[in-house]
Each structure stands twice: as structure tokens, then as C-alpha cells.
Amino acid sequence: IKNLEGYVGFANLPNQVYRKSVKRGFEFTLMVVGESGLGKSTLINSLFLTDLYSKDYPGPSLRIKKTVQVEQSKVLVKEGGVQLTLTIVDTPGFGDAVDNSNCWQPVINYIDSKCEDFLNAESRVNRRLMPDNRVHCCLYFIAPSGHGLKPLDIEFMKRLHDKVNVIPLIAKADTLTPEECQLFKKQIMKEIQEHKIQIYEFPDIEDDEDSKLIRKIKERMPLAVVGSNVVIEVNGKKVRGRQYPWGVAEVENGEHCDFTVLRNMLIRTHMQDLKDVTNNVHYENYRSRKLAAVTCNGGVDTSKTKNQMTRSPLAQMEEERREHVMKMKKMETEMEQVFEMKVKEKKQKLKDSEAELERRHEQMKKNLEAQYKELEEKKRHHEEEKSNWEAQQRILEQQKLDASKTMEKNKKKGKIF
């Protein structure tokens, strides 16, 4: 890395980023899950110092629900020139029924549908600026029983920890003494580890000072919170708190509860990280699962599927196309070979049969010629014999003639007595 001498100016990049982000504004979606009466709405109001739910916009807790609903409220808040579009997602009815099997399903469906919307928007050919409505954080409220996690708590967190950043909170912590709270926290963390639930982990910062702080905070997990819509005067100061006959439980007092820790973590230091983890981890998991289902078509061959995952679907199709072309070529050459071989065979057969016929014909011809020769020979022989015999006959005839002539002569001469 080259450290520059003299002024270049890109050290100003962070300011440029700052400027642009302020202009764009920010958005954040926070989901709260827990049984009724755990103070979810109150906590939201305390966190954001506003009456999200008021007379005009009543909170879900004031309405009786028969089934689990997922409701969202969108508000715009401004502070220090920074604009934030805050979406609070509430889940009234969660865990309130007698049979709570699958009460997490509407929650999962909601989270998935937001991811789906984002995926579709991201996959369009014509893309526009996409609003990010994905759930960035899920605060899960644990009832302050003091004992341990309920089966529903475990079930919910197990099903959602790989879909959203889950931050478990001990609700209405002012019903626990510090010692009870400590034990409760230890027990919860133990059970979380036992069930391999991955809750949101505040990442370590490189800065030494801050990292010590982070570690201290990690030891306080899960955070025990108290919320209040009421402002009370304590020792001349106006604070949010809950007034009891025996005193005031102050929301923002670090010795009373972990509210400030939560607020600082959630809003002041780790809001961006919650969004980043949602985008880089949870959303990417959703996306790759969704796309794998489409393009791999439940591939059985795992090595092939693995390859497919590292390629874009377009490249995947290209690859398949190439493979197919090669397969076709191979098939073509094979077919060609078989074809050629068969043709050769047939031609050979034809040739052989031709040769055979030729041979036979030759033989017959030869045979015939031999017979001819024989015949000629016989004929010649006969001719010879015949001419010989005829010659002989002629001689004999001549002799006979001569003999008869001589006899005649002798007769005439009187030689005959």
C-alpha cells in the first residue's frame, strides 16, 4: 500500500459518501414478536421517543385478535438533518392461542415475501430504485418467568434465526431482581447454545476501546428491557419510567435495565450492520435457495449442483447449451461411424456375393469350355478315324476292283481250268 506524499484528495471520499447518504435518506424495518402484554408497543415508543401507536393510530395490542396477524406501520422521522423511514412490524396474536403450533408461519411468510419482493425488483430487466422493505431486525420478547425459555421461544428462534437477525430480549425486566435476572440470562444463553440458535452477534470493532465495550455488552445478553410511555420527575430530572410505591424503575438507567444498551446498539451503532447482515447473509441465503430450486430442478448429482451454484443462471444455460452441442457432436460422430460401418459391411457382402457369383460363372464357363474341347477332340478323333477308315475302304475297294479286274483278265487269258 502506497502512502501518498502531498495532497491528492480522495481522503474526502467518506464525506462524499456521507453527503450522498443524507440526501438519499435511510430506511429500517424492525419487527417485534412476542405474546400479548409483554410491552412490545411501549418499548418501541420508548426506543424511538415517539407515540407510534396513539389514539389516532391504535396499536395492535388494543385490538383483539383471533389469529396471528402481521401488521406494519410506516413512519417518517427526522433528526439532525437525517431522514429515516421506519417500518415497525408487529405480530399481534402470536403465542396467544391455546394451540400455538405454526404460529410462526405468518411471520416467516412475511419475511420471505419481503425478500421475494426485493428479489423480483432486483431481477427485473428495467430496474428502478428499489425500496428496501426487508426485515432488518427481529426483537423477540421473552416473558420474565425467571426460569428459562419456553418451548415456543425455542421453536420460534430456531425457525427464524437463519432468515432474520434475531435479538432476544427479556421483557418487563422490572419484575426480576438483578440476581434473578443474571441467572435467567445465563439459563437462556445456555439453552440458546444448546439448541444451536444463532442470534444476532454484534460484530467486534477494531478500535480497542470500543471492543472492550462490545465485550462487556455481550456479557449482558440477552438484554433485559423496560419500556415506558410516561415521563416522571425523579430528583428534578424528567425521565421515562415506571412509578411504583417503592420507587421508580427508570428506563434509561443502566443499573435498572439494559434499555440504553439496546437503544445504542440497535440505533446508534449497529443499525447499518443489521441492514448489511440482512442484505449479505439472510437475503443472499433466501435468494440462492430460491434460484437453486428454479434452475437446478432438484439436481441429484451434488457435484454438478455445486458447480451450478457458482455460476449465474445465464452462464448455466450457456454451459448446458455447450454441453449439449458436444453431446450432439459426439452422437453425430457415433451415428456416422455406425452408419459407415454398416454401409461397409453391406458393400462387402455385396462384393463377396458378386465374387461368388463371378466365380461360379467362371467355373461353369470353364466346365462348358472343357466339354467343348472334349467334344471337339472326340469329333476330331472321329473325323480322323472316319477318314482313315474311308481311306482304308477306298483301298480295299480298289483292291477289290483290282482283284476282280485281274480275275477278269485271267479268265480271259484262260487261266481258269
Binding site: V8, V70, Q72, L76, P106, N120, V125, N126, Q272, M335
Partner: protein, 425 residues
């Protein structure tokens, strides 16, 4: 189990805050994350050999980048890129400088712009491929897309060369073009004003869209709009230092005076540095991503046959499109396979017919020969028969004659005998 979207009001309603919540730290959180992650910036320098591209980069970034000065005998235009890791205070920057080697050196420059366009497209393609992967790592991806293209104009003082216009026209929809007049210490001030006006009017009349410094953010709107009026920047680069007064400044020393690089009266170098690096670097990156890359992506996807469904009704469904594309594609392949098979079946049929024909001919030939042979045989038989008849006839004749002779001989024989006896006596 249903879920409802109950938007309170038409969108988000504004609510007042009763105190300091603390989300005004969001920009800082974002900035911290960016700083930790590091930044990256890619500059493409397009210009003829010898216009001082490398020197200007060295001067801008206060560092000596590698490389030998190039010769003029390059056969085509090549792009050479080098990546450097720089740091200024706590900000790390991964800077990639891409140089066009051999630009403008050929006799026929018709294809000069092609390798540049190809290079830019390749970087877009790489990003697109990464973005489309099933398992992707976009946040750690090293972005190689070109964020700014410095187009070096030769300081002729007259007008743009046709090569410049052609090239810039091809590049203006793909990259942020910042035209600069190179080696501007060769032009006098009055000539420079005229030159700038001429260049700007030529760009406008040819519809070349150069990068405009953004004026939508009030914080920088004023300075950006002023600077937009100074385009194209006339720059001078130098890494050599000359002592002026009691300071060492970057300058070029001539017998008639010293051109100071960072003196705004001498050249626009400082303006370029301000605009390119200090004020608008992030905007250049953003424009590249949201405008130029999106255009490339849209064209590429449309080329491959993807399209959005009607925006009025159902939203575009990724799976459906992929599914449809895939089925179409598979069907296509299967059809091709089937066609090839059919072709072979056809060939086999044809060949079989051919061979059958040949076989038939062969048999016909031999049948003919056989017939001929039969005829010959018959002839032979006839001849044989006639010979046999003759032989028989002859035999009969012979036998008859011999019989006669033997009879005659018997009679004649006794006469002869008598005669012979008499002779003896």
C-alpha cells in the same frame, strides 16, 4: 393464518420525536463501514500516444506508477491496466488505471474505438455474471467497471479530430467521459478560450454526452456548476519539482518561464483534481452503477430474450421467466436432437435403397449370364447329340461294311487260298 399490510396513511406519516433517538449517526455508521471496507476507483485514459497520459496520472495521484513510455508502432489498440493500493490519512483506495496503448497510431483508425468499447463491456459483463450467480459474493467483489474516462484531446488549438468525435460518441453511453486538453502549455490563453468553445460546440452538435458534475446537492451544486463551465479542462502534468520562491512545486521549466501545475492561472489541473477526486469521485461511481451499468444490463438481458411482464398487473416473477426460458431452451435442444436423428434415419433409408438397387442389378447381371450359359449349354448339348448321331451312324456303317468285307473275304479268301495252293504245287 393471514398477514395484512396495514399502512397507516398513504405511505409513511411523519411523527415528531420527543428527544434524541440517535439515528442521526446512520451516515457515520455507513461511512465507517465504507472506510473499513476500502474504496475502489477505476480510471480509463484514452488518448493518442505521447499526450502525457501516464504523467498526468502520476501527477494527479502524487505517485510514480509503473510503465515505460510506449512506442508508436503498435499494431492495434490495446488496453493495459494496473491496480494500485493507495492510502491517504485513513482512507484506503484501490485505484486501477487503464491506459489505451497505441490509440491513434494506426493508419486506418476505423476500429480503434472497438477494443476500448470491448474492454468496458467486459468489465460490465463480469459484474453482471457475478450478480446473476446463484451463490454470489457481491459485497467482496472487486469492481473493475470503469468509473471515469479521461479523454485526452491533442492541443492543436483548432478543433476535435474526427477520431475523437467518433470515439467519444461510441463511449458516451457506456462511461462517464471527462474530456481534457492535454499538454495545454502549448496553447496560449486566448487560443485556449477559442479552443474550448470550439470543442464544446462540436461535442454538442455531434450529440456527445460528456459527464456533467452533479448540481442536485446544494452543498456542492455551486462549485460543480461553475466547473461545468470550464470544461474541457486544460491540463499540464509534471512529476518534476522546481523551486519557486521557497517552495518546491510541480512544474515544467522552459527558457521563457515555468509552468506551475498547481497554479490555477497556468492550467486547470487543480480544477480537474477537485472535480474528479475530491468532490465527485463517489458520484462518478454511482453514475457508473446506476446508469451505465444498468443500460448495459438491460440491453444484455433483452438480447437474451428476458423481459418484464406487464408492469400494471402481476409483478415480474423471476422463477417464471427462468422456467420459461429454460423450457424453451430445453425444447430447442431436444428439437435439434430429434432433427439430427431424423436426418440419420433418412440417410439410412436412402443408403439401404441404394444398396438394394445395386444388389438387384448384380442379380440381374448374373441371371443374364446364367441364361447365356444355359443357351451355350443347350447348343453344346445339341452339338453333342449330333456328333453322337454321326458316331452311331458311322459305327453302323462301319459294322455293316466290315460284315460285308468279312463275307467277301471268306469267299475271296478261299479263292486266294486255292490260288496260293496252286502256286505252291
Amino acid at each position: 393464518m393471514k398477514y395484512l399490510h396495514q399502512l397507516k396513511g398513504e405511505g409513511a406519516r411523519a411523527v415528531p420525536l420527543a428527544g434524541h433517538v440517535g439515528f442521526d449517526s446512520m451516515p457515520d455508521q455507513l461511512v465507517n463501514k465504507s472506510v473499513n471496507h476500502g474504496f475502489c476507483f477505476n480510471i480509463l485514459c484514452v488518448g493518442e500516444t505521447g499526450l502525457g497520459k501516464s504523467t498526468l496520472m502520476d501527477t494527479l495521484f502524487n505517485t510514480k506508477f509503473e510503465g515505460e513510455p510506449t512506442q508508436h508502432n503498435q499494431p492495434g489498440v490495446q488496453l493495459k491496466s494496473n491496480t494500485y493500493e493507495l492510502q491517504e490519512s485513513n482512507v484506503r483506495l484501490k485505484l486501477t488505471v487503464v491506459n489505451t496503448v497505441g490509440f491513434g497510431d494506426q493508419i486506418n483508425k476505423e476500429d480503434s474505438y472497438k477494443s476500448i468499447v470491448e474492454f468496458i463491456d467486459t468489465q460490465f459483463e463480469a459484474y453482471l455474471q457475478e450478480e446473476l450467480k446463484i451463490k454470489r459474493t457481491l459485497h467482496s467483489y472487486h469492481d473493475t467497471r470503469i468509473h471515469a474516462c479521461l479523454y485526452f484531446i491533442a492541443p492543436t488549438g483548432h478543433s476535435l479530430k474526427s477520431l475523437d468525435l467518433v470515439t467519444m460518441k461510441k463511449l458516451d453511453s457506456k462511461v462517464n467521459i471527462i474530456p481534457i486538453i492535454a499538454k495545454s502549455d502549448a496553447i496560449s490563453k486566448s487560443e485556449l478560450t477559442k479552443f474550448k468553445i470550439k470543442i464544446t460546440s462540436e461535442l454538442v452538435s455531434n450529440g456527445v454526452q460528456i459527464y456533467q458534475f452533479p448540481t442536485d446537492d446544494e452543498t456542492v451544486a455551486e462549485i460543480n456548476s461553475t466547473m461545468n463551465g470550464h470544461l474541457p479542462f486544460a491540463v499540464v502534468g509534471s512529476t518534476e519539482e522546481v523551486k519557486i520562491g521557497n517552495k518546491m512545486v510541480k512544474a515544467r521549466q522552459y527558457p521563457w518561464g515555468t509552468v506551475q501545475v498547481e497554479n490555477e492561472n497556468h492550467c486547470d489541473f487543480v480544477k480537474l483534481r477537485e472535480m474528479l477526486i475530491r468532490v465527485n469521485m463517489e458520484d462518478l461511481r454511482e453514475q457508473t452503477h446506476t446508469r451505465h451499468y444498468e443500460l448495459y444490463r438491460r440491453c444484455k438481458l433483452e438480447e437474451m430474450g428476458f423481459k418484464d411482464t406487464d408492469p400494471d398487473c402481476k409483478p415480474f416473477s423471476l422463477q417464471e421467466t427462468y422456467e420459461a426460458k429454460r423450457n424453451e431452451f430445453m425444447g430447442d435442444l431436444q428439437k435439434k436432437e430429434e432433427e439430427m436423428r431424423q436426418m440419420f434415419v433418412q440417410r439410412v433409408k436412402e443408403k439401404e435403397a441404394e444398396l438394394k438397387e445395386a444388389e438387384k442389378e448384380l442379380h440381374e447381371k448374373f441371371d443374364r449370364l446364367k441364361k447365356l450359359h444355359q443357351d451355350e449349354k443347350k447348343k453344346l448339348e445339341d452339338k453333342k447329340k449330333s456328333l453322337d448321331d454321326e458316331l452311331n451312324g458311322f459305327k453302323q456303317k462301319k459294322t455293316a461294311a466290315e460284315l460285308l468285307q468279312s463275307q467277301a473275304q471268306q469267299a475271296g479268301g478261299s479263292t486266294t487260298l486255292k490260288r496260293d495252293k496252286e502256286r505252291k504245287n
